[in-house]
Amino acid sequence: MLQRLELVGADDHSVHLTRLQHLTPETAGRVILRHRIRTGQRYELIRDEFGQVRFQELGRKDPERHILIDSHAANWYFEGEPPVEGYPGAQLRYTQIYRSLLPFGQQLCETNLRRTDSFVALAGQGGGRAVTEQVLSSIRLRVDTEEAALSELLAVYGWQPLNVSRIRYFNPRAGTGKEFDRPGPPPGLMIADGPTAFEAVYDHPEVLNSNVVAVVSRTADPDQLDRLAQRVEALAQWYDPDPDIATELPVPPAGVEIMTLRRES
């Protein structure tokens, strides 16, 4: 996530535009959007007689229609999802903390904190989304006068007031096809928090080509660890240890060990 905060253009803008251009009410059903400035209004995505995307205002006798302008696509966002770009002028939070977490010499691209990004996804523990938020909110970081809970810094949609999101949330307990908190392309990086999360992620079709980081406590339930060990053993047929990635990572603290595997080419 921190690496994505340094990268210029590490956001959902282009993916969002493509999604708007290709959605049709016939395939996606009724699509409701909101505008990031006119926040009180709701719009329906329709296609005009030429097949062009239009946003038609809802709840008015004589509704306004807006056209999709590529450079302004980020003004529109899907109802129930985070805005692609936050409210203009809104004060950024926790910049000091993010800066302090970045490796020495790396620059924080502040624009990224105003924009949603779906490259990284977090698969929470079996307890569910609310429990995960509760656990993460108990971990607090402070730099000088600025203090934040880890749940806020991770910027999962709904966990912090700015409302843009830098991480998609994957709920292992949700029904098939409903695990991610918002639609999007397959994540580039999936973090699985615990054995239950890893099991759920392991076979998920959207994660087949993603990089996966599984974080497992050795004090987890022995039965879960056994099941996970069996899965990992099966994986070992197609994966080889990757010492290159290992050398790029910082030395972990005492008690934490890292195993990196790369799929055989």
Binding site: I139, T219, A254
Partner: protein
């Protein structure tokens, strides 16, 4: 839950953890162990001695894994269970008799001595906790009195310097501490098992292990469960747990302290298999077993449930009120709830009845005749042949009853065979009976088995009806139940409503523990606690 910061801080501060294995040799105990091994081996081959075998097995397991004073090594089970030297010699022969006598003599000697292992545990406990270090003991609940009776335990416990860990969960939620004490070998499964996390995820500085001789630790105990499978095939030394090319490796300094004189003709552990391994029931295969939660409902008994099973329990709610409710078993708490255990006999819900089959009509008639005319002769004959049930007379009465949901008959095939033999039925012709070369009693047994299989299917539907009926009855007497529960002891509630007759025992729950894997057949049955401990994982 402990804060991650506290755990990492402790791991960072301690550059090297120590594991000291104190091994004790005691010739008198070795003599007892040898004797017991021979006796148990002989008993294992005798089906009729199953109960005695269990008793002796667990007695030996207890002696080897709990720091009891030798004075508490009770020889009564050996004497009473097997019926004395004459009976032992007659039933199992001269070699077993010799071993039996040797074990008894060894026990008599032991009872005059102090246990060096117990003394050592006591010394470490007093010296470490007494100097302000925080000590935790990993053991099963039954072992607690052996520690709490040690010198100074009560005072140290009062100030929080000593305490117990019983399950992987207990370890997971424990705050970092200084010293972990374990009595017995480090094993992954079975009676002496403990979570491998104590080695691969230490939350303490020093492990003090105390064990009798010839009880080796599992060679790969504490090997990281995940990285371990990926390491297979490499040349990494499995003994160096946690030693990896990359990572925040934890270093262990291991040492062994041996005390006590070895016997003159000592057999080394390399040549023998220890008793904990030799007499352990084979662990159930993964496909035949299920994760389970243990609910301890008395000093020596427990019930195993699937973790998400629903049970009827009497519990105190946050409001303070005591309520009967259907509850997920994992959510129950020891020390404040009661487990409702209905014993309803045959519940007649007007469902499917087994008819008296072709064979059962014959043997039930003969049994009824004899039971009416010569009950004393019948009972003594059955006992002499080996059908030695505690309440044989009421069983006989039950077996004469006509079929309801099942054909009432002995539970064990062996007992049924004895019954038919005593009834002198050899090849009685029966209408509708199958033509077969199999003995008559076996054909009759097949009929019983078929009726029982049918009853199981019907029973699943009936169970739901019974459950809801029962909840309604218990709800109507909730005030009485709450009042009775105040005493904090197991109690029984008689039921006499039409269709549901019998009683419900409300077992006081001592503890609820996860971390077990048991055969399917054991779930929802009352089992001895010692046996349950063998299924720890």
């Amino acid at each position: 839950m402990p804060r991650a910061t506290a755990i990492f801080q402790m791991l960072q501060e301690v550059s090297e953890r120590t594991h000291i294995r104190h091994e004790f040799t005691c010739p008198e105990l070795s003599r007892v162990r040898r004797g017991m091994r021979t006796v148990i081996r002989a008993l294992l081959e005798d089906d009729s001695a199953a109960e005695e075998t269990e008793w002796l097995r667990h007695l030996l397991f207890t002696w080897l894994t709990i720091p009891l004073p030798f004075a508490d090594f009770d020889s009564a089970p050996l004497l009473e269970g097997l019926g004395g030297p004459v009976a032992v010699g007659r039933l199992w022969g001269g070699d077993v008799l010799k071993a039996y006598v040797s074990a008894l003599e060894g026990l008599a000697e032991l009872r005059t001595m102090g246990s060096p292992l117990r003394t050592a545990v006591e010394n470490i406990l007093v010296s470490t906790a007494g100097s302000g270090a925080c000590v935790r003991v990993f053991c099963h609940r039954k072992a607690r009195p052996a520690f709490t009776s040690m010198y100074g335990w009560a005072e140290l416990e009062e100030v929080g310097l000593v305490g117990f860990l019983h399950t992987p969960r207990d370890y997971r939620i424990a705050e970092p501490f200084d010293v972990l004490i374990k009595v017995g070998p480090l094993r992954r499964t079975g009676y002496s098992s403990l979570t491998g996390a104590v080695i691969n995820a230490p939350r303490y500085r020093s492990l003090q292990q105390f064990t009798w001789s010839d009880l080796p630790d599992d060679t790969e105990f504490g090997r990281d469960p995940l990285l371990g499978v990926l390491d297979q095939g490499t040349e990494e030394n499995p003994g160096q747990v946690g030693k990896r090319a990359y990572g925040g490796t934890l270093l262990w300094k291991r040492s062994e302290v041996r005390s006590g004189a070895e016997e003159l003709f000592h057999t080394s552990s390399a040549e023998t298999v220890d008793e904990l391994t030799l007499f352990t029931r084979p662990a159930p295969q993964r496909v035949d077993s299920r994760a389970a939660v243990l609910v301890q409902i008395g000093a020596d008994i427990a019930v195993m449930y699937p973790p998400n099973a629903e049970v009827i329990a009497l519990s105190r709610k946050p409001s303070g009120a005591v309520e009967v409710a259907s509850t997920i078993v994992s959510g129950l708490m020891g020390g404040e709830s009661f487990l409702a255990w209905p014993d309803l006999g045959d519940v007649d819900l007007g469902g499917t009845h087994a008819t008296d089959g072709a064979y059962s009509a014959i043997w039930k008639n003969r049994l009824a005749e004899l039971f009416a005319s010569r009950p004393i002769w019948l009972e003594s004959e059955l006992r002499r042949e080996g059908l030695n049930l505690r309440r044989l007379r009421s069983c006989l009465e039950n077996w004469t009853r006509r079929a309801s949901s099942v054909i009432h008959a002995p539970q064990q095939q062996r007992h049924f065979e004895i019954l038919i033999r005593v009834l002198r039925i050899q090849d009685e012709p029966c209408a509708g009976g199958r033509t077969s070369q199999a003995p008559w009693w076996l054909r009759a047994w097949a009929e019983i088995a078929r009726s029982r299989g049918h009853a199981v299917q019907v029973g699943m539907h009936e169970q739901e009806i019974i459950q809801s009926e029962l909840m309604a009855i218990l709800g109507s007497v909730s005030g009485f139940l709450a009042q009775t529960a105040e005493a904090g002891r197991t109690f029984a509630l008689p039921l006499s409503r039409a269709g549901l007759e019998g009683h419900v025992t409300f077992y006081y729950i001592d503890a609820v523990e996860s971390g077990y894997r048991v055969p399917e057949a054991v779930l929802r049955t009352i089992v001895p606690l010692d046996r349950a401990y063998e299924w720890r994982v």
